[in-house]
C-alpha cells in the first residue's frame, strides 16, 4: 500500500471496509483488534493488487471471487497439534480427573481452525479412555479451515513437530498410532472424529448452543477487542456447566474481562479456569 496514505486515512478506510463486509457478507469483524487486522489487510491489498483499502472495498463488493480469499486474511489459520504441550499436560492432570466423574461429556473447541487442537484433544481423551463417551463441538467461522479440520489430513513434514509436542504433553501412546502416512500426507484415524461435530459458528454473532463440561478456546481471543472478548467469554460462561472448565491461550488472560469473577484459576500458568459454583 502506498506510504503516502496517512495513518488516519487508513483507519477510516479500514472501518469502512469492515462495515461493508458486515453489511454485504454478514461476517462481523467490527470488534477485532485493530493493529494486527490492519497489518493483514495491508498485506491483502498487495495480494489483490489494490493501492488502498478503499480500492479493496470496491473489489470485495463488486467481484464475488474476492471475499472468500480475503477471509484468509481476516482470520488467521495458524495452529499446531499439542501447541504448548504443558497446556495439554495440565488438562490431563488437573481437568481429566474431574471429567472422569461424568457419565457423558461435551467439549467445545471454539475457533478450531484446521483441526489440530481438535485432534489433539481427541487423542488425549482416547488415551484417558474418555473419548467414547465424549461429544466434541468443533467450531470456526472459516469454512475452508473447517473442511480441512473435518478431513484430518496434514502434510507429513508437520508430523515431527506434532510428535514432539505430543510426547511432551504427557502422552501415554505414540502419535503414530493415530495416523497413516501416504503420499506425503498423514491421514488421521477416522475413529477420532466419530463423535466430533464440525460447524460454522461465530463468537461475534452467534449464541451458545449447548451445555458443555469444557471449552477450549486458544489464540482466538487475542484477535478480539475487549468488548468482543467479553461477548465470547459470556457465551462460554453460559455454555459451561456448573463447575465446568475453560482453557484459553497461554498469553491470553481473563484478568481484563468483565467475566473474570465468574471463574477461578485452576492452573494459572496454563490458563485453565473453573467456573464458580455460583456463576
Amino acid at each position: 500500500m502506498t506510504a503516502s496514505v496517512d495513518a488516519r486515512t487508513t483507519d477510516i478506510e479500514l472501518k469502512l471496509l469492515i462495515d461493508a463486509i458486515f453489511h454485504r457478507f454478514h461476517y462481523d469483524f467490527r470488534g477485532y483488534a485493530q493493529a494486527s487486522l490492519k497489518r493483514r489487510l495491508t498485506a491483502a491489498c498487495e495480494r489483490f493488487d489494490c493501492a488502498t483499502l478503499s480500492q479493496l472495498q470496491d473489489k470485495v463488493l463488486h467481484d464475488p471471487e474476492t471475499f472468500p480469499g480475503l477471509l484468509d486474511y481476516l482470520t488467521v489459520q495458524v495452529s499446531d497439534m499439542f501447541r504448548d504441550p504443558a497446556y495439554f499436560r495440565a488438562l490431563r492432570e488437573r481437568v481429566v480427573p474431574h471429567l472422569r466423574t461424568y457419565p457423558s461429556l461435551k467439549v467445545w473447541v471454539a475457533g478450531c481452525s484446521s483441526g489440530e487442537e481438535v485432534y489433539s484433544l481427541a487423542i488425549l481423551l482416547r488415551e484417558e479412555d474418555l473419548l467414547d463417551r465424549t461429544l466434541i463441538y468443533a467450531t470456526d467461522i472459516n469454512t475452508g479451515a473447517l473442511r480441512r479440520a473435518e478431513a484430518g489430513v496434514y502434510p507429513i513434514d508437520r508430523i515431527a513437530g506434532f510428535t514432539e509436542n505430543h510426547r511432551r504433553s504427557g502422552a501415554r501412546t505414540s502419535l503414530s498410532d493415530y495416523y497413516t502416512a501416504a503420499y506425503g500426507r498423514a491421514v488421521f484415524d477416522k475413529s477420532l472424529k466419530k463423535n466430533v461435530v464440525f460447524s460454522d459458528h461465530s463468537l461475534a454473532t452467534d449464541s451458545a448452543f449447548a451445555e458443555v463440561h469444557l471449552v477450549s478456546c486458544r489464540n482466538v481471543l487475542i484477535y478480539f477487542n475487549r468488548a468482543l472478548q467479553d461477548r465470547a467469554l459470556g457465551l462460554f460462561r453460559e455454555a459451561i456447566c456448573r463447575k465446568g472448565f475453560l482453557g484459553i491461550g497461554t498469553k491470553e488472560s481473563l484478568n481484563f474481562s468483565a467475566h473474570a469473577q465468574a471463574f477461578e484459576e485452576l492452573d494459572r500458568e496454563q490458563r485453565l479456569y473453573r467456573k464458580r459454583g455460583d456463576a
Binding site: A33, A35, S36, R39, V76, N225, R226, K251
Partner: protein, 202 residues
Amino acid sequence: MSAQPSRPGVSAVAVGASAGGVEALIRLLSALPADWPAALLVVLHLPRDRPSLLVDLFAPRCALRVVEAIDKEPIVPGTAYIAPPDYHFLVEAGEAGEPPHAALSVDDFVQYSRPSIDVLFESAADVFGPRLAGVILTGANDDGAAGLRAVRRAGGVGLVQDPDEAHASAMPIASRDAGADFVLPLAGIVHWLQSQHEAVSP
C-alpha cells in the same frame, strides 16, 4: 553524544534486538530508574518453542518493572514489556481515556521472525506517533529497518546502535541505511534514554 532532547520526552521506547541482544538489553534495561517516565517495549528474537526465561533474567537486574507482555495488558510508564516467544507483540490504542494496551498475534512470520521487530515498531508508531523512540540494537538480519522507518515517518525518533560496536552488525547497518536520527554506541543510547528522565523530571 549528550543528545539532550529539544523535544518533549517520549511516552514509549520500542527496542529490537537479535543475535547478541541479551547482553545489550541487560545493559540498557538495568541503567534505567524505577520511575523512568516511559514504557519500554522489547522484541528479542529467540529460538521459538522455548519458555522465555528473559523476564527471570532481566528482572533481578533492573529497577524497572519487567514483565512478559500479556494480551490486553495496559502499557504504563516505568515498565518493560517483553514480547513472549512465538507471538507478535503489537500495541493498540486505548479506548476513551484508557492507556494503550498490548496485543498479541500468532500471524505468520514477518522477516522470518515471530515476534517481529517491524510488527511491534509499526503498530507502536501508529499509537504513539511523535511520542515514540525506536531503538535497534545488535542483530544478524534485516528485521527492524522497515519498523524504524515507520517510527520516524510518524514523527518519532530513531536510534541505532553503532554497527562497529554491536555484537552482530547486519541489523544496525540495515536500520542505519534506512535512516536513523542517532547512531550511537550502547552507552550513548543509554544516556539518551536516561536524558528522557531529566527532560520530564523537575
